[in-house]
């Protein structure tokens, strides 16, 4: 920091001794250039979560979608099938209620509800606190079901290894074009409720093309959690991620 320019006045007394009075001038404005991410605190906590999960050999999966795209239904079936082979745990975020935690609770799966009391997304601190409430002993996959929202969760890293974005056939083919940041940030995009595609007149090819245009690097899966169609490819993707692929 540059020092302020002081005003110096000299006085001489009767004996000829010189006194100097220094009055500091107004502090000059100075600038500091830096590069601090605005979400620095969340990013640091997310990095700490990621290190912690990796150290414990846990694959953290952040599931994001609009409300009602089928995150909970996908997890229910996943826990009943994949979860029998591989020990899983779930953190589930909602504004209020523990309805989803109740739906997901199973004897072989530790589940904790995070109630955000109105907040529209999970952040890394909530996930760290939520994980403390879970018995993660022997757990290989931690599913984090985010608050249903396609906007804010895009900006908040939770410390996950994989971000999965869901799009259901009931939402229309153009959702990826309307909410591009979240789709762009996805490692895997899952088209859900494919059993409804026909009655809805859903154009699957157009939807897949829209996903590809926004998220060219993402793996795309199509599933129906109700009929089980396509679930095997989802489990294979999880298995590959567990194996480090």
């Amino acid at each position: 920091m540059p020092s302020p320019t002081p005003q110096v006045t000299e006085y001489k007394d009767r004996d000829g001794d010189v006194f100097r009075v220094i009055v500091p001038g107004p502090d000059p404005v100075f600038a500091v250039d830096l590069r601090v991410p605005l979400l620095e605190k969340n990013d640091q906590l997310a990095e700490a979560n990621r290190r912690d999960f990796r150290k414990r050999g846990i694959l953290a999966v952040n599931l994001v979608s609009s409300p009602g795209s089928g995150k909970t239904a996908l997890l229910e079936r996943t826990l009943d099938e994949f979860g029998r082979e591989v020990r899983c745990a779930v953190l589930v975020g909602d504004l209020e209620t523990d309805c989803d935690a109740q739906r997901l609770r199973r004897e072989h799966v530790p589940v904790a509800q995070i109630t955000t009391c109105g907040a529209c997304h999970l952040d890394a601190a909530m996930v760290a606190r939520g994980a403390e409430n879970l018995d993660l002993g022997g757990v290989r996959v931690l599913f984090i079901e985010n608050v249903g929202n396609l906007v804010c969760p895009a900006s908040f890293d939770l410390g996950e290894e994989i971000r999965v974005v869901l799009l259901s056939t009931t939402e229309g083919e153009d959702k990826p074009l309307k909410y591009p940041p979240i789709f762009k940030s996805a490692h895997i995009v899952i088209l859900t409720k494919t059993d409804l595609a026909k009655p809805l007149g859903f154009n699957e090819a157009a939807a897949l093309e829209n996903i590809r245009r926004i998220a060219p690097g993402a793996r795309i899966l199509t599933v129906s959690s109700r009929t089980g169609e396509g679930m095997v490819s989802w489990y294979a993707a999880l298995g590959a991620a567990l194996a480090g692929g």
Partner: protein
């Protein structure tokens, strides 16, 4: 805001006059919303009344095939204008950072 006040403290500044942010067009942050929020969080702090300037960073991507660098602001689709390849290689545009503080 914590970073602004921390930096001011580290530099023994008592007043923050101007803050510059770099905001990428694909960052998901709205400059107007940031300004609105800033005025509220700055109240009663050394940054009260500071000017908030926002440098908007356009999204740019690089084609992995032909190495052409191009604007990627159009609806988030990173399609190379030369070879039509859609790639995900964003060079800039996701920034959301504090880049300069002027204080005294």
């Amino acid at each position: 805001m914590a970073a602004v006040l921390r930096t001011a403290g580290e530099n023994r500044a008592s007043r923050v006059h101007r803050i510059v942010l770099r905001v990428g067009s694909l960052s998901g942050a709205e400059p107007d919303a940031l300004r609105f929020a800033f005025d509220i969080v700055a109240r009663g702090t050394p940054a009260d009344g500071a000017v908030l300037d926002i440098d908007e960073v356009p999204a740019r991507a690089v084609c992995p095939d032909c190495a052409l660098e191009f604007d990627a602001d159009a609806a988030f689709i990173t399609e190379c204008p030369r070879c039509r390849r859609i790639c995900g290689d964003l060079r800039q545009g996701r920034e959301l950072e504090l880049s300069r503080i002027e204080m005294s």
